[in-house]
Amino acid sequence: MEAHTEPIIVPKPLDPWKILYRVVNYGGLLLLLVWGFLGIEYKGIMQTAPGTIQAMGRAFLRPDTVYLRTWTVDGLPYAVLETIAIAIAGTFASAFLSIPFALLAAQNIVGEKVSKVGKFLVTMIRTFPELILALIFISIVGPGAPAGILALGIHSIGMLGKLFSEAIESMDMGVKEALESCGGSPFEILFRAILPQVSPELTSYTLYRFEINMRAAATLGLVGAGGIGAPLIFAIRTRAWPRAMIIVIVLIVTVTIIDAISGRIRKKLV
């Protein structure tokens, strides 16, 4: 008896076209990576970096708790509440605005040609960075939370419109046809056939976007659109690490709690 075992994996025969295909793909990817790496220069860490890291570590262990207990407009609790308020108002504004865009992008509502235009429109909105939207709105309505709400409200249409239109595309068309055959008006069809069917999914997606917008609202403050970002960037720029660390810690805790609540509601919904 022979002692050797047969190889389990049978090698697949490779035709030359497949090899060429792989060479082009992986080679191209490799070239892209090399090109990317060549452009990023490592200049070493700052001379002050060891001190900065030490100061950050010390601050992390002993953060600025006085700031946490300041219950005025300048305190941390107010900034956190404002961030949450921006996220809530922005998300739900965009949820309402997304519905017409979603209908425009849904193939089974407006037909194939119009839906392509609608889908492209939604992609364009999604591509526009919210931070730049925030800057544009700041120059229109002035710095503060309303600019943040507008930025989130517009930017979120990009994602919600896409997800909503997919939900509408996968719904049961029988109800819509039944209403049409009874002579239902377009508004009746929207409110009695389409929305009732997709509302659990729509709510779930809106909550998911709310989780994302919580993080976004925290960054919008960096450009002056209200919320926790403004005191954070100020603390980092002035190297006030105890204060920066308490903000980062509170941000992590808040986002984690909101994720947990929202995730639990989403599980119940769908």
Binding site: G39, I40, K43, A89, T127, L131, P146, I252
Partner: protein, 272 residues
Amino acid sequence: MSATAPQQATGAHEPIVVPRPNHLRRNLIILGVTALIVGSAWFAGFNVFQILANFQRGGRLLRRMFLEPDWSFTPRIYSPMIETIRMAIVGTFWGALLALPTAVLAAENFLQKPWISKPLRFILNIFRTIPAMVLASLFVAIFGIGAFSGVMALSVFTFGLISKLTFESIESIDYGQVEALMSLGANKMNILRYAVLPQILPQYMSYTLYGFEVNVRAAAVLGYVGAGGIGQTFEQALAFRRFDRVGVIIMISFFVVLAIDLVSSSIRKRLV
């Protein structure tokens, strides 16, 4: 039966309409959510009329940005734009590279050792809660102003994102293949190589591309805190209130990001 009999005799019909169910709970939830939204808008000082009034002032600004842009500024955007794309490529590479082994360790069904997967997931969650901009401004304090800080921030951010998506994929694989290999006496490495990886690889690559799309968008604004790329040019133009240049930067980066998005999402559609 006896109660309805006289009615039928007189020709009266039973009402077809079913009495409405009690919607108290649902209405209370709707009321609560509405109160939450209106309360938030009020707390944030959101005033529709004031905003509409301000829009006229904004109209002038938008006209300067998008109708009378300074196109002669275009050549000076190319090199920061290319730097932005490079930052996104390198950031995605490091993030995705570290994410694969981490995802395997964080998946509950592969190692089946909760003392490894639980704390790892906790750390990954924390990574995902810190916005890329905040990471970037922290890294700028350590590595100085420039693209390297941005790459670091993008790597950490992508790592958190791809790890989470990938370990969820690993947890939802077809376990039959793993069991088949186990019954042949394969060790963990063989199971990973021949049962787990082949199943998740298309999804992992799709997530990596998705991470790249997110990173291109993020890299375009990271410069605002000094982390390199087109954002830095943007910030300077804004600081000098050269809105005609701001408009050029916004439009060009918008079309570059849109093109990358379209290419990447068409590849993703073929992958999964």
